[in-house]
């Protein structure tokens, strides 16, 4: 798998922003990616040294829709989330913009 296929997108949320201060960067990754693949992908894309990779599978929430008397349910997609700890002093920037910095 190519590095760009492993890493789907950065996860930019309040929590991710806060974690970035302690060198932990959060990404949405391919559901079948392993920690090792993630480590290599991050190191290749961002040219940083990865210390730890923590992953978890996020189950999409189910949503109810009531439209004109008909009720349907849907589900948000499941995805895998990876929290990558990198070497102190290094940082990750996206497209020249340091997303993870306040």
């Amino acid at each position: 798998m190519d590095a760009r296929d492993v890493i789907v997108a950065p996860r930019i949320t309040e929590k991710a922003m806060a974690d970035a201060l302690s060198q932990q960067y959060t990404f949405v990754v391919h559901p079948h990616a392993t920690k090792t693949q993630i480590r290599h992908a991050i190191e290749e894309i961002f040219k940083v040294n990865v210390l730890h990779v923590n992953t978890l599978n996020v189950r999409g929430k189910s949503r109810n829709f009531a439209r004109r008397g008909r009720r349907t349910t849907g589900r948000q997609s499941d995805y895998k989330k990876a929290i990558v700890t990198i070497k102190p002093g290094q940082k990750i920037e996206l497209g020249g913009v340091n997303y993870f910095e306040q």
């Binding site: 996860r11 930019i12 949320t13 309040e14 991710a16 913009v97 340091n98 997303y99 306040q102």
Partner: protein, 426 residues
């Protein structure tokens, strides 16, 4: 920190150039961000918790810069205005001369300012005004008018005279054909010239009730219906009925009935007082106009074009089109009103300058008195009027200052009363 340079483009127009430092902009942008971010909702963040980077990524830096400029430029502009002691008459036209990464650093503001007015000779202006005496005859005619309101109409059998009330049937023809409005029956009218076409009433005078007569008249050339103007007409008139006014006697009873006074002498004195007040007010107005005319003539200064234009707009709005045809086109009307607009602007600038020089201002007491007067006129409590006015209270104050200044001019004028001439002064 900020410095501005002033260039006079025209007597009433200046260009101000001022620079804005990076720190000023940065500080303002930070404030702008805090203000805007409060209401921003982006996925992944609670409302108002969006970091600046993310905000800029989503909305662009322009939004912040614009917001910051809206804050900074007016401030800097106001400072520059104060620095050069200018009195602008309108909003400035802003132009960005230099910018750095989309942030203006040098701004040029072009604005019209009040011209410097060199005041002279506005005190002790010599004017003469016609005497406005209140004569015994004036009092009598006022009393008679009062009496007429309470007069009773009594039928008489005699030749009609001016001032009688007649009941008429008439049929008018022009060139042998009846015309619109020319026929009536049973019309009750007071016989006085001026209500009808000339000659009509004169023809009725002398008729006795029941009499029939044909009256030949000619429509005046400037008659309002153009197809009748200047044409001869014949009216067949029947005087059905004739009444005259029987005036009540001018005695104490009458005085009690028409006024809170107890005797006719008191009433007479009161009428005289009122007439004298009206005459005094008229005299004062004449003097005020004369003083203003002289003071205006004594001063010459350039008028800000934008003030003249907006005054002209107002005048065009107010003045109904000349002539019922309304043929004269807008441009022509504007041109014809221009002189009037210019003199109005000149007068108001001058009055403002004099008020400033004499430190005439609207005191809270003046405002309260004016509100009181308005409250009486509209029958509303003063507090209600005050809140209804809102910011218009400033134009109310302007009006007060204007009147006080005019009073000041009149009080300081040297007035000579011209005994011979009467009637309106030029």
């Amino acid at each position: 920190m900020t410095s501005s340079t002033l260039t006079r483009l025209a007597p009433t127009q200046v260009a101000l150039e001022f620079s804005i430092t990076g720190q000023e902009i940065a500080a303002a942008e930070e404030r702008a961000f805090r203000k805007l971010a409060k209401n921003v909702r982006l996925p992944g963040f609670r409302k108002g918790k969006v970091p600046r980077k993310i905000f800029e990524q989503n909305y662009g830096t322009d939004a912040l810069t614009r917001e910051a400029m809206d804050e900074v430029v007016p401030q800097v502009y106001a400072k520059a205005i104060a620095e050069h002691d200018l009195q602008p008459v309108e909003r400035p036209t802003l132009e960005i001369l230099e910018e750095d990464e989309g942030r203006p650093t040098r701004v040029k503001a072009t604005v019209e300012v009040r011209p410097p007015i060199e005041l002279r000779n506005y005190k002790g202006v010599a004017v003469s005004r016609p005497a406005t005496p209140v004569t015994e005859a004036d009092v009598e005619s006022s009393l008679r008018a009062l009496a007429k309101e309470r007069a009773t109409l009594v039928p008489v059998q005699r030749a009609a005279a001016l001032g009688d009330v007649a009941t008429l049937d008439y049929a008018g023809t022009v060139d042998g054909a009846p015309f619109e409005g020319g026929t009536a029956s049973g019309q009750v009218t007071e016989l006085s010239e001026g209500r009808f076409i000339p000659g009509f009433v004169a023809g009725i005078v002398g008729m006795t009730p029941g009499e029939k007569k044909s009256i030949d008249v000619t429509f005046p050339d400037d008659y309002s219906a153009p197809h009748l103007a200047g044409k001869p007409a014949r009216f067949d008139v029947t005087l059905q009925d004739l009444k005259e006014y029987e005036l009540p006697a001018l005695d104490d009873e009458f005085a009690k009935a028409v006024s809170p006074h107890h005797s006719v002498d008191e009433l007479r004195a009161d009428v005289r007082r009122r007439l004298e007040a009206v005459a005094a007010a008229r005299a004062r107005r004449i003097v005020a106009n004369a003083v203003m005319t002289q003071v205006l003539a004594a001063h010459e200064f350039p008028l800000p074009a934008s003030m003249v234009e907006s005054e002209l707009d107002r005048l065009v709005e107010e003045t109904p089109p000349a002539g019922e045809s309304g043929k004269s086109d807008a441009g022509e009307r504007r041109q014809s009103l221009r002189a009037e607009a210019e003199s109005r602007v000149k007068a108001s600038l001058l009055i403002e300058a004099i008020a400033k020089a004499e430190e005439i201002s609207a005191t809270p007491a003046d405002v309260a008195a004016e509100l009181e007067a308005l409250s009486r006129r509209y029958g509303q409590p003063a507090a209600r009027i005050r809140s209804a006015l809102g910011n218009n209270v400033f134009s109310l104050m302007d009006g007060i200052v204007r009147n006080k200044t005019l009073d000041f001019l009149v009080d300081n004028a040297v007035v000579t009363v011209n005994e011979e001439t009467s009637g309106p002064a030029s």
